[in-house]
């Protein structure tokens, strides 16, 4: 699956890191790093992360 995070919106709340640590992490400078093409098996976790992001910065690309 393909995902995108709007980095202009992201406030490094780390909710996505808690919900799907396989795809999201924070680096030492408190910046979000993520896998734009996570495994399809992670879909449920990624969808949960997108819901939990307080600023709705996570987009799951269709197709």
């Amino acid at each position: 699956m393909k995902i995108r995070v709007d980095m202009a919106k992201c406030e490094t709340h780390a909710q996505c890191v808690f919900a799907a640590p396989e795809a999201f992490a924070l680096d030492d400078d408190d910046e979000l790093v993520y896998d734009p093409g996570p495994d399809d098996g992670l879909r449920a976790k990624i969808e949960q992360a997108a819901l939990m992001c307080p600023v709705q910065a996570i987009f799951i690309e269709q197709g």
Binding site: H13, A14, V17, D28, A50, L51, M52
Partner: protein
């Protein structure tokens, strides 16, 4: 299970509906919501939303194939007929999710005077925003998260803000050390902090002053009452499901056969809290517990033991808290750096049970592992 009703169109209700569909529930889904709005994000209401009317709608509500009854409050629950009463109408169900959240407590006297506001919903925030030009003297009553944030946001607009609080700012939720940092930041930014208990407000045609229990008054053009909230369970009267402390949910996620509850309204025995019952009034919990309620209704019971997880804003810094951080814990500052960054740790009987941090986001995932391990 062919018909599922969700009462409360907030984050928990939406999350429940989404999870039901994800798990393959293809029957009728009806969402009943007292507010006229689709599910939206509430946290910005005391923060940036007081500055600009951004769209806070949660994405994806259109995709869950639900019948939305919005602007209609459930007025009762008929357990025998298994139906939610909505005025004259009745919505029959096989499964029910209770997700009605909280209502803001109001001042005992003068709550209806123009110029007096609470902050729980979108319409409250809009009403408050419309009145921001009413005059400069603003009094925020209550030193919890919402009072603290609202004071900071309104101060940022250049208003004269007095924060009246019975207990020191944020102390009950974050303990003495982090509370003192928050209080100092309010003072630096020119917020006047008054300790006292508010008995009411008064004025002729409009609020003019706030009364404290020692007889003093504080002049006010605008008052925001942030006195905390109580579970929205009026509509459950007579069913035995909703008490003052919320809707009690068993370890299986159900409050009664075929009836689940989630979000701010739900109270359950938390395995990480010595099994004592607890309600969590946080965004992340509403999203997670909503999904858990859906699983419970479909018979997929699992343990629900989330680590509480909260954030709050304070003058451009974000405070983040994990685990248990109340005033009953021993708290200690373990890092303090320029730019108002800090980490506070919380212990109960020597065990690390919580952390609060400003500006140390990347330390949190590791804290989360440690706290979860200590509490397990």
């Amino acid at each position: 299970m062919r018909r599922i009703a969700i009462v409360g169109a907030g984050l928990a209700g939406f999350s429940a509906g989404r999870e039901l569909r994800r798990l393959g529930f293809d029957g009728d889904l009806t969402v009943i919501g007292a507010e006229p709005h689709r599910p939206y994000r509430r946290p910005p209401l005391s923060k940036e939303h007081l500055l600009a009317d951004d769209d806070l709608t949660l994405r994806g509500a259109d995709e869950i194939g639900a019948t939305w009854m919005l602007g209609r409050a459930a007025t009762g629950l008929d357990l025998e007929r298994r139906a939610v009463l909505v005025g004259e109408a009745a919505v029959a169900f096989d499964g029910l999710v209770i997700a009605t959240g909280l209502r803001a407590k109001t001042l005992r006297e003068g709550a209806d005077l123009p110029g007096v506001h609470v902050l729980r919903g979108l319409d409250d925030a809009r009403g408050l925003r419309r009145e921001l030009g009413a005059g400069p003297r603003t009094v925020v009553v209550g030193g919890g998260f919402i009072g603290s944030e609202t004071a900071a946001t309104l101060r940022g607009l250049g208003l004269e803000v007095t924060l009246v609080t019975g207990t020191p700012v944020l102390r009950s939720v974050l303990g003495a050390e982090a509370g003192a940092i928050a209080e100092a930041r309010h003072r630096e930014h020119g917020v006047t902090i008054r300790t006292g208990r508010v008995t009411g407000v008064s004025g002729t045609g409009r609020v003019e002053r706030v009364h404290l229990d020692d007889g003093r008054t504080v002049p006010a053009d605008l008052v925001v009452a942030a006195l905390g909230s109580e579970p929205e369970t009026e509509w459950l009267r007579g069913t035995g499901l909703g008490g003052e402390g919320g809707v009690i949910v068993g370890p299986d996620g159900l409050a009664a056969p075929g009836i689940a509850a989630a979000g701010d309204v739900a109270r359950w025995p938390h395995p990480l809290h010595s099994g004592r019952t607890l309600r969590i009034e946080h965004y992340a919990n509403a999203a997670e517990q909503g999904a858990h309620a859906a699983r419970a209704l479909l018979g997929r019971t699992s343990r629900y033991a989330p680590l509480p997880n909260f954030w709050s804003h304070l003058y451009g810094r974000r405070l983040q808290a994990l685990g248990f951080t109340g005033a009953d814990c021993d708290s200690r500052l373990v890092a303090r750096e320029p730019g108002h960054r800090f980490i506070a740790e919380y212990r109960l009987r020597g065990r690390l049970v919580g952390v609060a941090a400003a500006g140390f986001a990347s330390a949190l995932p590791e804290y989360r592992r440690r706290i979860a391990a200590e509490l397990a």
